[in-house]
Symmetry: C2
Subunit: 374 residues, 2 copies
């Protein structure tokens, strides 16, 4: 089947670009001498995990227990669940361990650390715990130099086991030069290494010092003391990453295929059948790429950008493309298909249960599944 | 099972509120003497369709062919697909008709009108066509007084059949008083009636004059000349509708159940396990309810609002609740559950494949499925 014969909206995944992105990240972490544990919250696809592993990735990261269960179904045995767990999710964690998964869970608070210890004792199992550190993103996590770190670590009692710590420099999305990203990467490293060092001084055996975001993973100048890097969106990239200089448009592997369903010339608009659900309402590229709106239009067959054309607004099932030059109506007649570079690949992909895979031509060569939900 | 025993994030649907919302809308259209054809793009659930039909709804509206197929699987026989169709989707439309569905499709352009006619001739079937009118929303649709209307109508040739027209006053979301909504409802009615009258003068037999949006359906003062009203989000309502005065918080039937996964006191934040995927990144309430951000927090068991607490920012799997009063940490300890009133129910519900149904208590009494995708 050809791309333009697919029912719309749907995802089109360019395998050659995906593989180039996997290779680029693996080379970046290899240069630093650390392990890559890809964060599969973006792709949520066993096929992508397989391709990353074949290039040297060691273990995977997930953002939901549903992902962990899906990847375990597909043979994954080394999984880090990198969102703070709650006590009522521990039985799902144990079920994964009982299936042979080497699962790492994470928390940043004493209540859950104690619950992990109590659960491990009650069920005679070893929950493996990472402590989350806030390296400047101000999402979750403890301060690396704060008093809570040792208290939380101390609450992880045998048979539960403290493996180490994890941090995520989400604030690397707030800048748009390699130099600024490198500075944040150093903050991320420094916080992780400081926390590891304090824990070791307190007598803990720390084997995992995990950092990562796509920008810091690619642009870090030194990762001394770090054991592994997690990154996710690099597998596909998106306009958000492009707007920050992390990738080019030619590296974006994921697009949404849409059809032209109307021309509203009175409103200077082309209407597409890809709206808020098909693209997501993520506007994270607004700061550095305000003209990208909800996505950039590309030729359906070649994937090359159509200059000046973006999805300027969305309703649930409509993408609105405001047209400044009437020649756009001829370029995109009714029924024509177009591909859209997504603003935030993680959000966009989540509306779909499969990828239509192309490999350097206009032919769809494969269909890969993905998991969603919790 | 009790609400607080559910794994998070998940949807909780209050059946009593749902039924009150269905009754309110049915009563509103009954007063006008027109039919209600609920737009099931919000609920996407056969159970909701069944409850609406039991109260007098006649037929359903859908926004995707996947919805049409799902509802046909559940016995629906009268379906309007209210997004402009493209020629390559006509075979799916025909497959529905072949299953006995009285399907209405829609377009606003001559290319598709001709394609409908050609397809009907080639396959010896009767595609039933509605023409979309732009009544001021400036999304899709023809001008009711413009020259294209008769040209598109004329292109619908036997055995295809022109049934009538459809318009949607999406711009009713741009105002926040009943009086302003009533004015827009009159624009919507007037455009539809003008288009119907021009088509009838040109010799077309027009049986469908379809209007609708939740605000205009509820606040229209007169619907003379209209045959049916479509509305969707009223089944659940949401903060977006509340911010425009269309409903109260107590009428919002859909919530997202989430767990407290962390306290980042250094950043004045409570962290929830419901982020951008669980809530959507819709910000449509910003204009009239800027403090609602990504959703308003409620008590998990009673569903009553927790004053001053909202999801102030999101990342993929994290909801960030900025805390101005430290007592919030005691109110929402680690592991506690909370319900979140969604900004835009249609967008939020789409991340889930089921509703956990409660009926006036803290007990989950049922699970209803829903369809997603295209």
């Amino acid at each position: 089947m050809k791309i333009i014969d697919l029912q719309t909206p749907c995802l089109v995944l360019d395998k050659a670009r995906l593989i180039a992105n996997l290779d680029r990240m693996q080379a970046a972490v290899d240069r630093q001498g650390v392990a890559l544990r890809p964060h599969l919250k973006t792709a949520k696809s066993a096929k992508v995990a397989e391709l990353a592993a074949a290039r040297g990735a060691r273990g995977i990261t997930v953002s939901t227990l549903a992902e962990a269960e899906y990847f375990a179904d597909h043979g994954a045995t080394d999984i880090t669940y990198a969102v703070g767990i709650t006590p009522d999710k521990l039985s799902r964690a144990k079920a994964l361990m009982d299936r042979g998964v080497n699962l790492k869970i994470m928390t940043d608070n004493r209540t859950v650390a104690c619950a992990n210890s109590d659960f491990s004792k009650a069920h005679d199992c070893t929950l493996q715990v990472l402590i989350e550190i806030d390296c400047g993103d101000h999402r979750a996590g403890l301060q690396a130099d704060g008093p809570d770190l040792l208290a939380v670590a101390g609450a992880v009692e045998a048979p539960a086991k403290l493996l180490g710590l994890l941090t995520h420099a989400g604030h690397s999305y707030g800048v748009d030069t390699a130099g600024q990203v490198a500075e944040i990467a150093e903050q991320e490293r420094a916080a992780a290494v400081l926390a590891a060092s304090r824990l070791r001084e307190a007598g803990h055996d720390i084997s995992v010092v995990s950092v990562g975001s796509t920008p810091t993973a690619l642009f870090a100048s030194d990762l001394t003391g770090v054991t592994e890097v997690r990154a996710g969106v690099y597998v596909f990239f998106d306009v958000d990453q492009m707007s920050r200089g992390v990738c080019t448009a030619d590296e974006i592997a994921l697009t949404v295929l849409a059809s032209v369903i109307g021309h509203n010339r009175a409103a200077n608009k082309i209407l597409l059948d890809a709206g808020g659900l098909a693209l997501s309402k993520d506007r994270s590229a607004d700061h550095f790429a305000p003209r990208a709106h909800y996505g950039l239009l590309c030729d359906a067959e070649t994937g090359t950008l159509l200059p000046e054309l973006s999805v300027t607004s969305v309703s649930q099932e409509h993408g609105h493309v405001v047209v400044e030059d009437d020649r756009a109506y001829d370029l995109l007649p009714i029924g024509a298909k177009v591909r859209i570079l997504p603003i935030h690949a993680c959000m966009t992909a989540a509306a779909y249960d499969r990828y239509n895979v192309v490999d350097g031509s206009a032919e769809v060569t494969d269909t890969w599944d993905r998991c969603n939900g919790w």
